[in-house]
Amino acid sequence: MAEEQVTPATETAALVSAGPISQWLTSQGFGHDSLDRDHQGVEVLKVEREFLLPVATALYAYGFNYLRCQGGIDLGPGEDLVSFYYLTKLADNAEQPEEVALKVQVPRHDPRLPTLYWLWKTADWQERETYDLYGIVYEGHPDLKRILMPEDWVGWPMRKDYITPDFYELQDAY
């Protein structure tokens, strides 16, 4: 299913023609892989977590001042977790501004990656939410704790191998 979709993409990364942003990054010497463009033609870059911070900083310097959306993906039970970032160049009277998506795969047993809070403040709650739902730990985040789920919740609800506890199902309906 999804593992078919993304994992092979890393192997065939060379086959995907690198977009302008990828080329620029390469020219600046930032290691990354290009994945398939997404359905709207936005470049998707795969970054190792060690290089997330430099690549993100480079993109910030490049002009991507707006972190649109940050979230997590679970590639399936036992598979890696992904943290994705959609970046945009926000400007006045923009016409089709440049966009780019970053994806960072982290192993399920060690889901750690650096926070982007210090680049884009908006990552604050979005990363907290991803942490809350997927258990991806963003190192360096100022206040990483559960945000939507109760503080004492056990488990990461959005992971595909999460087993829904049966205690709340239709609590008082009958």
Binding site: M1, A2, Q5, D38, H39, Q40, V42, V44, N65, Y66, L67, R68, C69, G71, G72, I73, D74, F84, Y86, L90, A91, D92, N93, A94, E95, Q96, P97, A101, W120, K121, T122, A123, D124, W125, Q126, E129, L133, R146, I147, L148, M149, P150, P157, M158
Partner: protein, 393 residues
């Protein structure tokens, strides 16, 4: 200047979840020094229903009734984004008439949402009366919704490939009536509110967010535009048929609560203008005319072609979301409402990430209220325009 020393014990006070002005079930843990706010921590999740998890277990048809519960005041937008995501991923063509109907509905919904922002915002700074005035107009919008969709709030009207039903007959006329009725009412609100010295004093210079901060904090919608960014997704993304109409992006450079107020008031006017234009340009005209033309034109009439349908092709109950991923967004009244959808060629999406504008906009609240007065918390929170349904999802 020297200040009076204020090293007194801070008072930690809970505002919410059961508080008259918390816009739902938000909880703020506010640390006060007298009347001054030292710190504020929002606590969310009281309305969390795990909408993303639900989405992973529902077909689009099944999921559509849920989405109006995100932002239950701008319901059309949640439906629009929910059908846009699979629709664009599957490259489903949408008839032109359906797009026009969508725009009309979206803009009506924007008016309704802004109205129900205006009332509580004014109530937050202490004026109760506008709350009743806005309900008068909002009820009319909802009457129109009810006639077209069958429900006042939870419409379930948008479909993959169009909308659920054509506009009922007489609807276009009444919608025009509403627009002509509504614009003077906005002037009346402005007369009542805009220049009121107390209101001005309460909101001007309060909760100021600079352009850089607004972008960095990921603000969107009126929050962003009030901070001096001319950024409206209707213009940026050219989605639906907004390019057909003559309208202006509302933006201000002050970045305070008053600028947000002006932006939203302006947007109501613009929305009204868009609706008027869309009603005029509706392909095929109002339902009754179109139907008459169809009846007159016979089965092979040009009025039966694709662009004059209200829906391209009725989606199957088990409509499959094709393999692929993308991030779609619409300009909701509160800001950028986005969906990241990852399909794997099954009726259920593999990942359905919602980017609610309220959630992102709310996180700047502690930043804005620090150092302000207790009363400013309400003004600022009101000006952010959060709906806990979409913040907690």
């Amino acid at each position: 200047m020297t200040l009076i020393e204020t090293r007194t014990e801070p008072m930690v006070i809970n505002m919410g979840p059961h508080h008259p002005s918390m816009h739902g079930v938000l909880r703020l843990i506010v640390t006060l020094d007298g009347e001054n706010v030292i710190d504020c921590e929002p606590v969310l999740g009281y309305l969390h229903r795990s909408m993303e998890k639900i989405a992973e277990n529902r077909t689009v048809v099944q999921y559509l009734p849920y989405v109006t519960r995100w932002d239950y005041l701008a319901t059309m937008f949640t439906e629009a984004i929910t059908v846009n995501a699979p629709e664009k991923l599957a490259d489903v063509a949408v008839p032109r008439r359906a797009r026009y109907i969508r725009v009309i509905m979206l803009e009506l919904s924007r008016i309704a949402s802004h109205l129900l922002w205006l009332g509580p915002f004014l109530a937050d700074v202490g004026a109760q009366t506008p709350f009743f005035y806005i309900f008068r107009e909002r009820e009319m919008v909802y009457d129109l919704f009810e006639a077209a969709t069958g429900m006042r709030m939870m419409h379930n009207y948008f479909r993959v490939g169009g909308v659920a039903a054509d506009l009922p007959y007489g609807w276009v006329d009444k919608c025009e009536d509403f627009c002509t009725y509504f614009l003077p009412k906005v002037d009346e609100y402005e007369k009542l509110i805009t220049n009121n010295p107390i209101f001005r004093k309460r909101v001007q210079g309060v909760g100021t967010l600079s352009r850089e901060d607004a972008i960095n904090w990921g603000m969107s919608g009126p929050m962003l535009r009030a901070s001096g960014v001319n950024w409206d997704l209707r213009r940026v993304d050219h989605y639906e048929v907004y390019d057909d109409f003559d309208w202006a992006v509302q933006w201000h450079t002050d970045g305070d609560c008053f600028a947000r107020y002006l932006v939203r008031i302006g947007e109501m006017r613009e929305s009204c203008k868009i609706i008027q234009q869309a009603l005029k340009g509706l392909p095929g005209g109002p339902y009754e005319n179109l139907e008459a033309k169809r009846m007159g034109g016979g089965p092979k009439s040009e009025w039966n072609t694709f662009d004059y349908q209200f829906t391209g092709k009725k989606s199957a109950p088990n409509f499959k979301i094709p393999k692929g991923e993308h991030y779609v967004r619409v300009e909701a009244p509160k800001g950028e409402l986005g969906i990241y959808v990852l399909g794997d060629d099954s009726p259920f999406p593999w990942r359905w990430k919602i980017r609610p504008p309220g959630f992102i906009n709310l996180q700047v609240l502690p930043q804005l209220v620090r150092g302000m007065k207790v009363a400013d918390i309400m003004a600022i929170l009101g000006s952010i325009d959060v709906i806990m349904g979409e913040v907690d999802r």
